[in-house]
Symmetry: none
């Protein structure tokens, strides 16, 4: 059954200059609405060539989402080609034109005739507002075809997709007509477990729930299980998985979330503050933590101690510790974490020191050797040694994710034993 088609336009895609993330994003989002994409096409920004292909591939019915080619230059072919293939002339929206004129005038640029076309759409359609950029999108219904044209800039496309396309697909019941109608899915996030091991556990449970299918996907240190069902609710199956004793230390949360968001929420809810001390990860951990809006509520700051002098001067790592054990060692990781804890007066601190490569490895400490330490105001000091495979970026990312996991585990355990204020004891792993 035909459901949806994605069309992307632009020479930068055909020349291989950028990867087509727009098509992937739209496919993902349509899937959440129960709509399956039947085909994707990328067309050139040449009017004749693009019209010729569009004429062949435009389906008789269904949802068509097109991105790119909406600006005002000769290269921007989306409005003309849909106009041509649908045999509907382009009409300029008056309010849209006014908006464009104001934009040009307020910036001291002359508003010329071709610029008006950025507020045009095939007759019978409507403009879609662009909250982020200048170019309007448009929607036009042609028989049983529902065509949405969105900008090519990912930020603008995403915003327009969610403010204009999704509400209409939902309110007009298009997701029932061209999709599975009802559709349930949930994503469960796990950490510190192999995809294969998790798959075996989940497989057994899902097998007992008729109509439920699942898939696993691993990225950035998190393994995600996606459960889907078109017939029934998933809650029972989810409950069985998330309450499984064997997964208690691995289950993170529901929904498509990053580890830094999960950890951030946990720190915030439990009123913990955090600082970090980084060597080989070079600021990546701090960057991830502060990617999260509102992170200033719990993240106080960090030191990127790339040189040994910085480790000594800014974190108080002992000269002798460095000399005796080397910068990549359990001892230096510990002194870095304790140094951050003290200097930032935070409740918790994590430190990372290792060999990210490609240079700097030796037989004792090959590339990928990373020491992590979590220290807490109550005296907790946890050290972990890891040996990662992969290139520089992989080693760095896996180190940062491991540090986030150590934080996650620590706050969860502390909460179980009565929260931050009741914490006590000293425990050392590694």
């Amino acid at each position: 059954v035909y459901q949806a088609q994605i069309i992307t336009i632009g020479h930068e895609l055909l020349r291989g200059e950028i990867v087509n993330t727009n098509a992937t994003y739209i496919a993902q989002e349509l899937r959440k609405l129960g709509i399956t994409v039947s085909s994707m096409s990328t067309l050139p920004d040449d009017r004749t060539a693009a019209s010729d292909i569009l004429r062949l591939i435009l389906p008789e019915q269904g949802i068509v989402i097109c991105t790119g080619g909406l600006g005002g230059t000769e290269d921007d072919v989306t409005r003309p080609i849909f106009s041509s293939v649908l045999h509907r002339k382009l009409v300029v929206d008056r309010d849209g034109e006014k908006h464009l004129r104001q934009w040009y005038t307020s910036r001291g640029r002359t508003f010329e005739d071709p610029d008006r076309m950025q507020a045009s759409h095939p007759e019978g359609g409507t403009l879609l507002p662009n909250q982020v950029g200048l170019a309007f999108g448009f929607y036009v219904r042609d028989g049983e075809r529902h065509i949405y044209a969105l900008p090519g800039v990912p930020g603008e496309m995403k915003r327009m997709f969610h403010t204009s396309v999704v509400p209409q697909i939902e309110s007009e019941g298009l997701f029932k007509r061209f999709g599975s109608g009802s559709y349930h899915y949930e994503i469960l996030n796990f950490i510190n477990i192999g995809e294969y091991s998790l798959d075996r556990i989940v497989h057994e449970i899902v097998d007992r729930h008729k109509g439920v299918v699942y898939g696993t996907r691993s990225s950035d240190g998190i393994v995600r299980v996606r459960l889907e069902s078109s017939q029934e609710e998933l809650s029972e199956c989810i409950q069985e998985i998330t309450c499984l004793a064997a997964l208690q230390d691995n289950y993170l949360c529901r929904g498509e979330k990053n580890l830094e968001e999960v950890v951030g929420e946990l720190l915030k809810t439990n009123n913990y503050t955090l600082s970090v001390a980084e060597s080989c990860s070079g600021g990546l951990l701090a960057k991830l933590l502060t990617d999260v809006p509102g992170s200033s509520a719990y993240f106080l700051g960090g030191v990127v101690a790339y040189s040994n002098d910085a480790k000594k001067g800014l974190l108080g790592v002992g000269h002798k510790t460095l000399e005796r054990f080397g910068a990549v060692s359990e001892n230096v990781a510990t002194e870095m974490a304790l140094g951050a804890l003290k200097r930032f007066s935070s409740d918790t601190a994590v430190a990372i020191t290792g060999v990210a490569g490609p240079e700097g490895g030796n037989p004792q400490k090959p590339v990928g050797t990373v020491f992590l330490c979590l220290a807490s105001r109550d005296g907790t000091v946890q050290v972990e040694k890891n040996q990662y495979l992969g290139d520089r970026q992989t080693v760095r990312l896996r180190s940062a994710n491991k540090a986030l996991f150590m934080l996650f585990r620590h706050v969860k355990q502390a909460r179980r034993s009565g929260g931050k204020d009741q914490e006590s004891g000293y425990d050392s792993e590694g």
Copy 2:
């Protein structure tokens, strides 16, 4: 003129589970042979649906590269759909079948009849060997159509593309027939200039060089000009652009490079060390700098001073400065940079403080207000105020890129005036 078409097959693409990097890779590689891709399509792994679309889009002539769908299961539709659309029955290659049988047997697996089809191809074609995996690819010529079917696994696809496809395209002169024959290109990187302004300057120069075409592309604060020519060398045109006085402060380098790599090389060559002090960018600048292998040669470290206490305690920003001017101010940026310079004993330091949003803005300092300061051991103090548009990640990335640009400019200027040791004077902008 029709030149090449890329077809990718698989539900994981249509479901948005993976980004279509195969299509991008093939487009890039074909371009190096002077062949332009006219369109790309992604088809489902349903035989009927995929055949229906293929029948519509398969061009009358040119190079067609297809990836995916070559295995032995029902989902693997590539062999059947080309067989159907080209009206050529599938034939099994004897040597190929023998190879498969050996592979199965040596692994203790039974070799069944459907497995033989993995060594099949449309009649008149040939198998393409797979050095990495099991599935054979195939090549079939149908009139003026040259069709190559490759595996979907990127590693297998790339290997087969280079060992089978490229040599044939070259030896049979297909790159002359469907491409421009010979092909030269170069990328020039610019910074701190609008795409539009750069375009006008480049346009004028390129206009005087017959056969040279160009395109501009802006991302991550760098504007890239791609010059192409099918007839002649580009060196003259490149020289004219890069030596233009008007672009002296904007031209970075040739080739596809990141700003952090360019700055890193410049710091290393000129023997400068660097430290950073970050507030709103939260470690992103340090992360970018340390993304570059070997960055420890010039990058000493940084402080992520997210809280005011951290700004005071770790960077020595004055309590009164914070109280009087606020954390987002020229004065605090300056004290942060001077603090980093002192604490890390580096030759240069850059500081970033601003409002990344979405919270934290006010009428005087709305979201996107960012102060940057570059301080150098010789007494240079340069401050810049910026007002960025965009979301949190955009503000952070543009701030970090601006800091990198300030470093680039400083080291270049210092070098012109005799290098690090001959530096003198004090200059303050902003």
